[in-house]
Amino acid sequence: MEALSSLIHGFAVLSDPMNILYMFIGIFLGVLIGVLPGLGGANGVAILLPLTFSMSPTSAIIMLSSIYWGALFGGAITSVLFNIPGEPWSVATTFDGYPLAQKGRAGAALTTAFTGSFLGAFVATLLLTFLAPLIAKFALQFGPAEFFAVYLLTFCSFVGMGKESPFKVISSMMLGFALAAVGLDTVTGQLRMTFGTVELLRGFDFLVAVIGLFGVGEILLTMEEGLAFKGKTAKINPKVVLETWAELPRYWVTAVRGAMVGCWMGITPGGATPASFMSYGLAKRFSRNGARFGTGEVEGVLAPETAAHAAGTSALLPMLTLGIPGSPTAAVLLGGLLIWGLQPGPLLFVEQRDFVWGLIASIYMGNIAGLIVVLTTVPLFAAILRIPFSIIAPVIIVICAVGAYTVHNALLDISIMLIFGVLGYVFKKLHYPLAPLVLALVLGDMAESSFRQAMLVSQGSLTIFWSNPLVGSIVTLALVMLSWPVISLFLQKLRSPRKPDAPVVAG
């Protein structure tokens, strides 16, 4: 097969020891960047981009993409240990990762997260190797209506299934939408809800909000509950990796589903963050353990991590073949390609064989290397939870503050983070769910602008959402998802009217 011989050629490019060295440096830096909240992959790559000018383009992209893989891996670490998502796509990892850590199973959670990441990336890379040209064509079918349909599907697969009352879910989500609307409206070019202040011009950044809501909010809760980590009894045993691996095959359906969702979202290009939410939502709905999600299920860590990494990897495909970045980090890498004198686009695969296949080979190698690097550190990271809370809490607050500041280099963001921290605490106390707020904040403006673009294109007619089989089926699927609780209730009544222990999914 042509793809295989090209791939072997790619590995030959990679066998240059300098390239391997760059790869490991990249992975290491990436994990570091992933661990520090706020200093996201996009920022990290952007900062290091100019350093790579003196390298060959192939070495440069290998190092920079390794930073990206590293950051994808590293984002899970703080999510699990401290409930602070290091990266937007690891928010969904906190939902079950943190409760697992509190139960003393931080090692299991980390191992699952890393293994899931690896699996997702591996599937996406296979896709990249063998189906690249085919898939590139598919991505072109995505116009505004199709994008909106995908966002709608994300919302619908995530909402309508919480244990909380529907009113609490809706109010939390509406608050998220309202916060997402602050700043510049890209469709009309007008400022919204900035109240004439300069600081609100950039809107509320998702990462700042999340660091506050989850990280600071959690510290406040812990302070109230007795100044101690619940997870400090964590076993620190290198064998935890193997034990967890023995458990994982049970959840193969979730992993496959996560990888599929991830590849789909990466290509379309919805990105890693919506992919992780969608995968978590789907797993919660369709898994037998679904009702226990959120209390510390290994499966609840596996689902978002697999999807996030699959999406993160496949996001490179539209970038290479079409020049559309599938994620903010991919956008920076795209800038890098141009600077190195390479033109991303349909001809890149033909004209720059060394570069493209070297990159693809480096994804395989990079992920294996990344997995080894992070797995060996699992006991180390889990041991952090043994440090007394009174010592580690101030450190966490400082890291949170630095992270919030780094996102936009804005001092006010630290105060905003603290306000969100209090908000997160209040939400927890009143049993309002945080996830809908976060989801609305991250996807709200994208969903809004694609909806309004679609309305512009169709001159205000909603029929555009059923104008072709692709968009029609996604929208219909989304609506089915939304009304699934009602449908499943109806189906159960129809089948076995007297079954007493049938799980009832609350809307």
Binding site: L140, G143, P144, L184, V187, T194, A331, P344, P346
Partner: protein, 339 residues
Amino acid sequence: MRKSKQSPLTSTVLAASILAVAGWSTSARAEWKPTKTVEFIVPAGTGGGADQMARMIQGIIQKHNLMAEPLVVINKGGGAGAEGFLDVKGSKGDPNKLIITLSNLFTTPLATGVPFKWTDMTPVAMLALDEFVFWVNAKSPYQSASDYISAIKAGGPNKMKMGGTGSKQEDQIITAAIEQTTGVKMTYVPYKGGGDVAAQLVGQHITSSVNNPIEAVAQWRAGELRPLCVFDTQRLPYKEPIANGKAWSDIPTCKEAGLDIGYLMLRGVFMPPGATQEQVDYYVGVLQKVRETPEWKDFMKTGAFNTSFMTGKQFEDWLKKAEETHRSLMEKAGFVAKS
């Protein structure tokens, strides 16, 4: 269009202050140099045209060792760039700060009413001008700009869909100018970035775009897009064949095609207000060295940039004229915020 009675006054004041500064600095004598890390602000997100250029400059400076202190790129793109411009406006007298501009230097204050203008900053140099090209999908029947214009006129209002970056910014200003010339309204669909617009045109979700050369060149080479005309007064100088034996220089100007519209986007560098002539001269020197590197020349060629370089009085005159042009174009299009 021009109400220029105030500009001689401004320039006299400026000239006077420059003289005063020059007189002072001759006594100080020692050549000025930045004393700490220089912030290079990009009033836009990561990955866009201005961001690419800023990072290119950062890389070149680093590689050729053109500055003693490091230069770091910082994105402040909130409020269509207002965040970055207000930051520079508020950093009076800070010589360790630079900002690269897009057309939003003119469009953002007009469209949003956020209070800043170019005179709130110290102009350093024009680095280049970005061209705009009229693109359609290669599968569409329109072989020339006049074909497409006839189709716009024949199709009636809102039949043709123009995609562009952002709202009430350069792409929509050009669209408005086309509408004024043809007398027929188009549907303008705003997207986040130029790469998105080019891909949407390839996927035929829109019927045309006014992408910058660098944003659409890959799709042109792959035979997916077709350039109709360039919005400049003369053809582009780049004669190397790009696609099907055609070069940038083969694209007619829109004026030749009967669409008398010209638009160029400024890629310039500014400093905070109150910078001394010595400080400006230092950065002009650095940027001139950047322009001479092979990396910069390659970059200009890939993006088919207009390589005009201006400083001092010439640059200020250009800015004054560009500001007036934007005001008049945006007023005609009804894009100016009511305050």
